[in-house]
């Protein structure tokens, strides 16, 4: 944890009642965590520029893969490649992105149901303008140029051209 304390000069009006101090704080934990075999395989596929889900015993394809089938609790062991295109099932527009978010310009958080998947995954859609967003629109994955086995290897989704 790092923290820095500085005194902010009180405004003219505030001086009568004494200075009020404020300071920027940075609270940071540099965790690393193990991901387990299922998510590890999903992330390795992203590093290769592919999106993989897992097929449940009932036939449903779950993306991102969970370790166990939410319906039967059976281990999910059969990887299935999905996408890279998909459909936005719901979304929310972010007009002022914050530091650390996937894009540094306005974007949409969206649930994207990839082609071949039965569940939708949360990711960013780089649509440029809120007017370009629509439930049911088709999008396609855009991968980062430099990939390291992280969800950020999938940089974002973009509207499919010609849709």
């Amino acid at each position: 944890m790092k923290h820095v304390l500085v005194a902010r000069m009180p405004s003219e009006g505030a001086r009568d009642v004494g200075g009020v101090l404020s300071s920027p704080y940075l609270l940071e934990y540099t965790y690393r965590r193990s991901v387990g075999p299922v998510v590890g395989r999903f992330l390795a596929a992203l590093r290769d520029g592919r999106i993989e889900g897992a097929r449940a015993p009932g036939g449903k394809v779950i993306v991102p893969p969970s370790e166990y089938d939410p319906e039967t609790a059976a281990p999910l062991v059969e990887p299935v490649e999905v996408g890279p295109g998909g459909v936005v099932t719901t979304w929310a527009w972010v007009s002022s992105p914050r530091q650390g978010q996937p894009l540094d310009r306005p974007f949409a958080w969206a649930l994207v149901k990839l082609d071949g998947a039965d569940t939708a995954m949360l990711h960013a859609v780089d649509a440029g303008d809120v007017a370009a967003m629509k439930t049911g629109m088709r999008v396609v994955a855009r991968f980062a140029e430099k990939r390291e086995g992280s969800i950020r290897d999938l940089a974002c989704f973009v509207p499919e051209t010609g849709s």
């Binding site: 005194a7 009020v20 101090l21 920027p24 690393r32 193990s34 991901v35 395989r41 992330l43 086995g149």
Partner: protein, 162 residues
């Protein structure tokens, strides 16, 4: 496929601005002059240091400033044995609740100048301030507390503050 990923970076980061408020700002600014200033509740007469706006018991705003001495009593404490990133003190060291003479609220600070194993409840301690040029308006203006040579306070003297 290529080797599976086993670990990811999962950094938690929170950037924010902390505002001390009027009473706390007065306390912090006073530390620059090596003064420890609390405030008294006009209703129950308890002295709070650091002061935090209203009295939590009476719900009224605190009244007059009360300057407190630099000496007090360790009410309770813990010994830190676990290393962590950014640690500056040599392990093991002690963090203690210090009840300044005349105060009705203890506050947390470091104990130095004594082996960690020798720190005890009731131990009398004195604030050691940083050199004036190095002081900032923060609790770090007090570097730590160190033992005085007085006898320990009896349990009854601080039992109401545990």
């Amino acid at each position: 496929m290529s080797d599976p990923v086993t670990r990811i970076k999962a950094k938690v980061r929170l950037e924010f601005t902390a505002t001390a408020g009027r009473d706390m700002s007065r306390f912090l600014t006073s530390l620059l002059d090596a003064r420890i200033v609390g405030r008294r509740c006009p209703s129950c007469l308890k002295v709070y240091v650091p002061p935090r706006g209203p009295c939590p018991t009476c719900g009224v705003f605190l009244g007059d400033d009360v300057e407190l001495p630099h000496v007090g009593t360790v009410t309770t404490f813990c010994t830190v044995n676990v290393p962590f990133e950014g640690q500056v003190l040599k392990l093991p060291y002690v963090l203690a609740w210090v009840l300044l003479d005349g105060a009705d609220l203890a506050f947390l600070h470091l104990i130095q100048g004594i082996e960690a194993a020798d720190v005890r409840m009731g131990m009398r301690v004195r604030a050691v301030f940083a050199p004036k040029a190095e002081r900032t308006p923060s609790l770090e203006a007090i570097r730590w507390f160190e033992p005085t040579s007085e006898p320990d306070a009896p349990y009854e003297a601080y039992s109401a503050f545990l």
